[in-house]
């Protein structure tokens, strides 16, 4: 079974913010595709998780949304990073790096903590 992993709740917000930071304003479908592509199709974004997560970020003021027109002339709702969202992205990214580096140290074999 070729298992695609669902995105964990906490990390999805970070991925969304990073995607918007990199690509600029984007619609929900685009965000989902981008996350899947970036992960090398290892992750599957569940829309039932994505949209509430977008809504939550918007309610918290990290992103803003407005209706716009897509490349192929389709009306779509575009999400955009706000200044607060940028700050949040930086601090969350730092947090995440710290966490992964700690975990890496735990998991790397044979090294005694000095």
């Amino acid at each position: 079974m070729s298992e695609k992993k669902d995105v964990w709740q906490g990390t999805l917000a970070l991925m969304v913010l990073k995607t918007l930071d990199t690509l600029g304003p984007l619609h929900g479908y685009g965000i989902a595709r981008r996350i899947e592509q970036t992960s090398g199709d290892l992750l599957a974004v569940n829309y039932g998780t994505l949209y509430p997560a977008l809504l939550k970020l918007e309610q918290e003021g990290y992103i803003r949304s407005e209706w716009g027109v897509s490349d192929n002339n389709r009306r779509a709702k575009y999400y955009k990073l706000t200044r607060a969202g940028k700050k949040q992205l930086e601090s969350e990214a730092r947090e995440w790096e710290k966490t992964t580096s700690i975990l890496a140290r735990f998991l790397s074999p044979g090294e005694e903590p000095s």
Binding site: Y29, Y51, R74
Partner: protein
């Protein structure tokens, strides 16, 4: 911060669901279309592209649901649903809703009304600066160990200097001033106040100014500050009042200002003037004429002040042994002093209304329970469709709280009417009567208690509803679930009856008290007697010769007034005394000496009531003289001194009523020279102090032999006494235009005023008992008729098996009467424990009067059985065929 923002947005979204739903649907749709286009681009067929996109999108409805949950606040959403649903349910059962709301409105309304009164009277701070720290200081001496009397000037100075627990202290003298000149002469309550009096109270002037340092300097123009009330009533709110002059006790005073409206201290004062002292008074240790108002220092305790006052008292006694070892200086918080004895009776009333509310809650609990049983299937259905037990429980609570709020809102109306009625009925002496208002406190209290009540009476029914087993009930199909309702409902009925019993007992005791008071015969005739006061100007200070002339003039004048009034048409007879009867006013005299008693017993211990009376006093009041004669024209100022005593006094001091010719001296023993008065008459004992007190030893002296501060006149009329009032005043003013005529009333009215408090409290307690009892009966009726309807089938079977109507009646009645008897028995025990709280108000009946308890018991049993009778009759008419087919 972020959370708060998110919450606010979510809350806002609760109210714009549809718009946001449509928007999200559009977003999903555009998402789908983009996906399809991408798939087409990657070479899929049209059908396949759409199919794949739909698969990837997943369950659209589930996504929408999750989105919705994040969008709004689900808990608020469902709360709104519950409220809407509850409102619909209540609208659909108007009968039930009406009974429930009316029950609550009575319970909450009564409670809120009494709470407002208690709050305004006992809890709300007095409208003065630092009023919670204010105290009054009083003196008690050996001669009057049970009365609080005022302080002397040296005592006030000692307290001001040495009672360090007090931040400040002011002295004042309550007095009366006769105003003449403009309009009808009148007597005004006045206070002579020390320098820091107004500052102490934080009082402000409404117009002009309060008293200043200048006003206290000797030789200045006399000045007065008038009350807002006097300014409005006597001076028609004339803003040019400042600088005008008043004639008070024949002296000219300049008005310097009108006090702000909230200044009502001392009680009912209309005038404030500078306190002036003579050197003589400043040194006089026994001139107990100054009332003291102090403010405790912040952080100081009342106990420390008491200790300091006690040591000041000891020092004063050391300095002046004549004050006597028993001299005590005591202090009392100002609020306590203002409210006095009223506190207890109003707390009792608050307790009574709490009982009413409890009964109402118990009643609603059983109503809701009974209805909840009927809605079993509905609840089961909802549970089967996925409602969690928490949700079911919440829905029931929302329903009961909504009922509570409806009841509370109606209760506010009841409370406002109640407080108005109270203000109209309350006797004038009720403390802080002007301050009793309906305000926000009332509304908050009412709403809070209605929500609380909603939770209380909703608690058990909602728990029941939540514990439902849908499968069991839906399977049963029929009436279903015998369960525990009857048991719990029975307990509620017992509780209601017990509470109602306590209320019933209390009000029965009060009704008996009132009946005793109304029937109480004072021992003299009170019909057709008009009474009023004729205050007299103060006697000149010195010398003695002036005093003598003044007294003669005064006596001459009162004699003439009595004559003039006596000749008015409709007047039968006129008499005068130095103070009125039945008003509770007590003039006492101590240090009497008997002539022919052994020397060690000649000075009488304790004090005896005294009264100065004119000829015809006993005749007008129809008080029999058991020995000797009444005073008459012989007993002039120059005639031999005579005295009349009452039976009690004769018996107490001589041991017999044959005391004519005995002699007695009323000048204070050891002070001045003895002056012997010969006993010329013995009067029968009557209740002349007030209607509730038995006769005490009392002696009578001729009024027309001395000058007094005020005369009190008794006019016996041929017809209705109060019809004479204006004719009498006019007659007096015709010859003496400056003579105030005050407190015009009749003896009958005086009696009814002295029992005003008891009458008011009886009416209130009686009302609460009536409400409580009828609610309890409604509860009994509800539970019994519910149980009858649930037992229809059983009764049908019994009838089919041969039970007659009498048997059926017995079954139902037995159940009801057992409950009532059980409740009444518990109530009896509670009443025995609780009636002592109203012991102080009772008259002529003991708190635990067995007859009263028995009557209350029988009454509640009787009316309770009547409440069972109706459902029992219904049970008797059960047709077995119908009942069995009912399955």
């Amino acid at each position: 911060m972020r959370h708060l923002r998110a919450c606010a947005l979510r809350l806002a979204n609760v109210f714009r669901k549809r718009q946001s739903d449509e928007e999200f649907a559009a977003e999903i749709e555009s998402n789908l279309q983009m996906h399809v286009e991408d798939n087409l681009r990657s070479g899929m067929g049209k059908e396949e592209a759409r199919r794949q996109a739909l698969i990837r999108l997943g369950g659209v409805e589930a996504t929408k649901e999750m989105y919705r949950e994040r969008r709004g606040l689900p808990i608020v959403d469902t709360l709104f649903q519950d409220v809407r649903f509850a409102a619909r349910v209540l609208r659909k059962n108007p009968g039930f809703t009406l009974v429930a709301v009316a029950t609550l409105a009575l319970g909450i309304g009564a409670n809120t009304a009494i709470f407002s009164i208690v709050y305004s009277m006992l809890l709300r701070p007095l409208p003065y600066k630092n009023s919670s720290r204010m105290v009054t200081v009083h003196t008690r001496t050996a001669m009057f160990p049970t009365f609080d009397i005022s302080a002397s000037w040296p005592m006030f100075q000692a307290i001001r200097q040495r009672a360090t627990a007090l931040e400040s202290a002011a002295a004042y003298q309550s007095t009366e001033k006769t105003i003449t000149g403009q309009g009808e002469p009148a007597v005004l309550d006045a206070a002579n106040v020390s320098r820091d009096y107004f500052e102490q109270l934080g009082a402000k002037a409404g117009i002009g100014r309060l008293l200043s340092e200048e006003d206290y300097k000797p030789g200045q123009q006399l000045v007065a500050v008038i009350s807002d009330k006097l300014w409005r009533t006597r001076f028609a709110s004339d803003r040019a009042i400042v600088g005008r002059t008043l004639i008070l006790d024949k002296q000219i005073y300049a008005v310097v200002g009108v006090a702000a409206k909230n200044l009502r201290f001392p009680d009912r004062a209309d005038l404030w003037m500078p306190l002036s002292l003579t050197p003589d008074i400043e040194e006089n240790h026994t001139f107990f004429m100054f009332q003291i108002l102090g403010t405790l220092r912040e952080g100081e305790s009342h106990e420390r002040l008491s200790a300091q006052l006690a040591s000041i008292a000891q020092e004063l006694v050391k300095l002046k042994p004549a004050l006597g070892k028993d001299l005590k200086i005591i202090s009392q918080p100002l609020l306590e002093n203002t409210v006095g004895d009223a506190r207890e009776s109003y707390l009792v009333l608050l307790g009574a209304t709490a009982f009413v509310l409890l009964i109402a809650c118990a009643n609603l609990t059983s109503l809701l329970l009974a209805r909840g049983w009927g809605r079993h299937r509905e609840m089961a259905m909802r549970a089967a469709l996925g409602a969690t037990s928490r949700r079911l429980r919440r829905q029931c609570l929302v329903e009961s709280c909504l009922l509570g709020l409806l009841g509370g809102t109606a209760g506010i109306g009841v409370a406002i009417l109640g407080v108005d009625a109270f203000r109209a009925m309350a006797p004038a002496g009720t403390p802080r009567l002007d301050e009793i208002t309906t305000d926000w406190a009332l509304i908050w209290f009412s709403l809070a208690s209605s929500l609380l009540a909603g939770f209380v009476f909703g608690a058990v029914p909602s728990r029941r509803a939540a514990r439902i087993e849908p499968l069991e009930i839906l399977k049963e199909g029929g009436a279903g679930g015998a369960g525990t309702f009857p048991k719990f409902g029975n307990a509620l009925v017992v509780l209601e009856v017990a509470l109602a019993f306590v209320l019933l007992t209390g009000s029965t005791l009060m009704v008996q008290t009132l009946a005793h008071l109304i029937r109480q015969n004072p021992g003299f005739r009170t019909e057709n007697v008009l009474t009023f006061d004729l205050p007299q100007p103060p006697a000149p200070a010195a010398p003695d010769q002036n005093k003598e002339t003044f007294a003669n003039q005064q006596i001459e004048r009162i004699r003439e007034i009595c004559d003039n009034v006596g000749h008015l048409p409709g007047v039968q007879e006129v008499a005068a005394a130095d103070h009125g009867v039945l008003s509770g006013m007590r003039y006492v005299h101590s240090g009497l000496e008997l002539e022919d008693a052994p020397s060690d017993q000649s000075v009488l211990q304790g004090s005896v009531m005294e009264r100065y009376i004119s000829p015809k006093y006993f005749r007008i009041l129809n008080i029999p003289l058991v020995r000797g004669r009444e005073f008459d024209q012989r007993d002039m100022r120059s005639a031999p001194k005579v005295i009349i005593v009452n039976e009690s006094m004769a018996r107490k001091y001589w041991g017999s009523i044959d005391v004519l010719g005995k002699r007695i001296s009323i000048s204070m023993a050891g002070k001045g020279k003895r002056e012997w008065n010969e006993v010329v008459g013995v009067a029968a004992d009557v209740r002349d102090l007030d209607i509730q007190s038995k006769a005490e030893p009392e002696f009578f002296m001729p009024l027309l032999q001395r000058s007094v501060r005020s005369y009190h006149l008794f006019v016996r009329s041929e017809g209705r006494a109060d019809a004479l009032a204006s004719a009498v005043s006019r007659q007096i003013w015709a010859s003496y235009p400056d003579q105030p005529v005050t407190h015009v009333t009749t003896l009958q009215k005086t009696i009814s005023e002295t029992i005003g408090d008891q009458r008011l409290h009886t009416v209130l307690l009686g009302t609460f008992a009536a409400i409580g009892l009828s609610l309890a009966l409604l509860g009994v009726y509800g539970v019994i008729s519910y149980s009858v309807s649930r037992r229809t089938q059983e009764i049908g079977v019994r009838v089919a098996l041969g039970a007659g109507p009498g048997d059926v009646l017995r079954i139902v009645m037995r159940q009801g009467v057992a409950l009532i008897a059980c409740g009444a028995a518990i109530g009896l025990a509670a009443a025995v424990a609780m009636t002592r709280f109203i012991a102080g108000e009772l008259y002529g009946v003991k708190p635990n009067d067995p007859a009263t308890l028995l009557i209350a018991f029988l009454l509640i049993l009787f009316v309770g059985s009547t409440a069972c009778w109706i459902p029992a009759r219904r049970a008797m008419r059960v047709d077995p065929m119908v009942a069995l087919r009912y399955e």
